[in-house]
């Protein structure tokens, strides 16, 4: 295996999209076999995404000559208790098998680096597709088709006791057949395991734009927090950005906590959207988590009746799109923040 550091020097351009917002795909969701744990079996090529402590590479799994995405995480950047955190995360991925949830083909350690191998989803993230060709958002049918798939994945995760905690367009990856998969359980936590969660751990919990009010307040939260993020993601797909995207993190926290929930302003969007979309969004963006529908309930919302088969997305969105590695690098900077992990 080529060492990641040697890859850096040879690369012509480096896309700056955040880790998880890029990746992976041509294997399709059916590919759930376990790959080898031998780093020598992987040919690591150009980086396709960066995060605070991880880099995602385009790579080939030599024994099957398959294209994969490899997330390389430097464990020495993680503090004392965070390895346990990472264990829970990779386990969530290993224990989930659903057409709309990204599979892990393998996870192994070499030196102080953790390698997580996943399928390479060639269309990239919905965020990347949007930034490349649809800066003002997608049409309503595409949104319904994307979100229905994402919601099915979310429903599966919730029924298995997991909270995703990072639902947003950057973590909805699309395959070249129009499948949409939930990715990056960067900080997803498990409700099943009630281990010792005390201590002053600072955990990355994502950009606050998608964060539910109860998560910000650190009052303890459940899977309904994902439903809030799902509502924000719907606004993102319809306008090109999350509601408070232009503000610094601390301002986003204040606005979310003190103002009325954001909504979709149907008069200011480029595409025309139905009242149903706005209703669906408003049902997710209620400050009281108990009033938000579960993923299962939300799937029955009339808005999703217009969702088409996944192949619709190939025609509607992907046809004229350059492949992931040929798209111009994005210059968007992620606004991220660290807040202490809530006690569960």
């Amino acid at each position: 295996m080529r060492r990641p550091s040697s890859v850096h020097s040879g690369s012509g351009y480096i896309p700056t999209s955040p880790v998880g917002s890029v990746a992976p795909a041509a294997l399709g969701q059916h590919d759930d076999q376990l790959f080898s744990n031998n780093p020598e079996d992987y040919d690591i090529r150009l980086p396709i995404g960066y995060g605070s402590s991880a880099v995602v590479y385009n790579a080939y799994y030599k024994p099957l000559n398959k294209r994969v995405a490899i997330k390389v995480i430097d464990l020495d950047m993680f503090e004392r208790n965070q390895i346990d955190e990472l264990r829970r995360e990779t386990q969530v991925m290993s224990l989930c098998k659903h057409p709309n949830v990204l599979r892990v083909n393998g996870a192994f350690v070499a030196d102080s680096k953790l390698y997580i191998v996943t399928p390479y989803l060639s269309a990239g993230s919905c965020l990347d597709i949007m930034k490349t060709a649809y800066p003002d958002g997608f049409d309503e049918v595409s949104i319904a088709t994307i979100l229905k798939q994402a919601l099915q994945g979310l429903d599966y995760l919730h029924k298995n006791g997991h909270i995703h905690r990072q639902v947003r367009a950057g973590n909805l990856l699309m395959d070249d057949d129009g499948s949409v998969l939930l990715a990056d359980f960067g900080v997803s936590s498990s409700l099943m395991e009630n281990g010792d969660r005390r201590g002053m751990r600072k955990t990355f919990v994502g950009t606050p734009c998608w964060m539910a009010p109860e998560v910000m307040e650190q009052a303890g939260y459940d899977y309904k927090a994902d439903i809030w993020s799902f509502g924000i993601t719907a606004i993102e797909l319809a306008t090109g950005h999350a509601p408070f995207a232009k503000y610094p993190p601390i301002k986003v926290l204040m606005l979310t906590l003190s103002n009325d929930p954001p909504t979709l302003d149907r008069d200011s969007t480029k595409h025309r959207y139905s009242r149903l979309l706005k209703e669906m969004i408003d049902s997710c963006l209620q400050k009281d988590p108990a009033r938000r529908p579960s993923a299962e309930k939300l799937l029955n919302h009339s808005f999703f009746k217009q969702a088409k088969k996944k192949s619709y997305l190939v025609t509607a969105l992907l046809q004229n799109l350059p492949p992931l590695e040929q798209r111009p690098p994005k210059s968007m900077k992620e606004k991220t923040t660290f807040i202490p992990k809530p006690k569960l």
């Binding site: 004392r80 390895i83 224990l95 996870a107 030196d111 298995n160 099943m192 299962e296």
Partner: protein
């Protein structure tokens, strides 16, 4: 009224069907058997946990538990889990763990059941050898380990030493899951662990030293941290005294203080400090410290100085420096 919805099966029927289909797993219609098993397990799980509309009914749960014990279903499930479908494997863990938590007054019937059938625990431990079932078995094991009697059974068997191999496996999630279970065994129930470590001191620490020297970064770092926790636990005072009386152990820690990884250095510091703080150092240990006095002072003076906000660490470091300066 829905005429097409079949009447829900009784606990007795579910248990009987499950047993029948498990026996058919190696027969000609293996595929049908696995599918039926998946369905039955979902039904059992729903009976135990309820669903979005119904809460579990205590009388039905009691009947079901009784059927599970009398048909030896826990053993059958664990023995055959590798042949089940992906989701069914997770259901086994959920069913098992629900029954483990079940209690009648102060009695835990599932725990009592397992006490007389230690081989079920051992089968679960061996589950780490098959990556298809390792995580599922790990989940059940950790639930078992909440109970002191079950932890004792594992500590008193040779099986506990299997973990030294499992934590070294190169599949990250399985090795780290095995480590989490290993740690649970060694830290949750103080008294039996102290007794185990005293009785098996030599064998245990000979193997443990290999973990501390592992080429696997995660193994090395995690086992070093766990060592610190074990030694500093008051229940393990005798073990600590014995550990810090060894010059070899001291040498090992001094080498780890210079490890390439800052995190490993830091964990090593938390074990090294116990050697130095010991008011009754024996001669071999004193000799090493005195011989390296100047180098240790220079080393510690510049050791992780950027951790200025970690007050406890800085206090401890200052204390160690003073101790070493005062030698002889």
């Amino acid at each position: 009224m829905n005429f097409f919805k079949p009447k829900p099966k009784t606990p007795h029927e579910l248990a009987r069907n499950l047993k029948e289909y498990i026996q058919k797993l190696d027969g000609p219609d293996k595929r049908r058997a696995t599918e039926e098993i998946s369905k039955i397990l979902v039904a059992i799980k729903t009976m135990l946990y309820g669903d979005s509309e119904n809460d579990p009914v205590p009388e039905i749960v009691a009947q079901l538990a009784q059927e599970v014990y009398s048909n030896n279903l826990l053993q059958l499930l664990v023995d055959n889990i590798a042949k089940f479908e992906f989701e069914a494997k997770k259901d086994v863990a959920q069913i098992f763990n629900n029954l483990l938590r079940r209690h009648i007054g102060s009695r835990s019937p599932t725990v009592e059941y397992l006490c007389t059938r230690d081989y079920i625990l051992f089968t679960l431990i061996h589950g780490y050898e098959n990556q298809e079932i390792a995580l599922n078995c790990g989940m059940i094991l950790r639930e078992c380990l909440r109970h002191e009697v079950l932890t004792k059974i594992i500590l008193n068997s040779q099986q506990v030493y299997k973990f030294f191999d499992y934590v070294e496996m190169n599949t990250f999630d399985i090795a780290s899951d095995a480590f989490a279970t290993f740690k649970e065994i060694l830290t949750r129930h103080k008294a039996p662990v102290a007794e185990f470590l005293e009785r098996n001191y030599d064998v245990f620490f000979e193997k443990y030293t290999l973990l501390l020297q592992s080429t696997n970064y995660v193994t090395k770092r995690q086992s070093l941290k766990l060592l610190g926790e074990i030694l500093l636990d008051r229940a393990n005072f005798t073990i600590m005294t014995r550990y810090i009386a060894s010059a070899d152990n001291l040498k090992l820690m001094m080498n780890l203080l210079k490890d390439r990884s800052r995190n490993i250095q830091f964990e090593a510091f938390h074990v090294f400090k116990v050697f130095v703080a010991n008011p009754n150092k024996n001669k071999p240990v004193l000799d090493i410290l005195s011989k390296n006095q100047d180098r240790l002072i220079a080393f510690l003076s510049s050791f992780h100085n950027d951790r200025s906000d970690d007050e406890q660490f800085n206090d401890e470091k200052a204390f160690l420096l003073k101790q070493i300066q005062d030698l002889r």
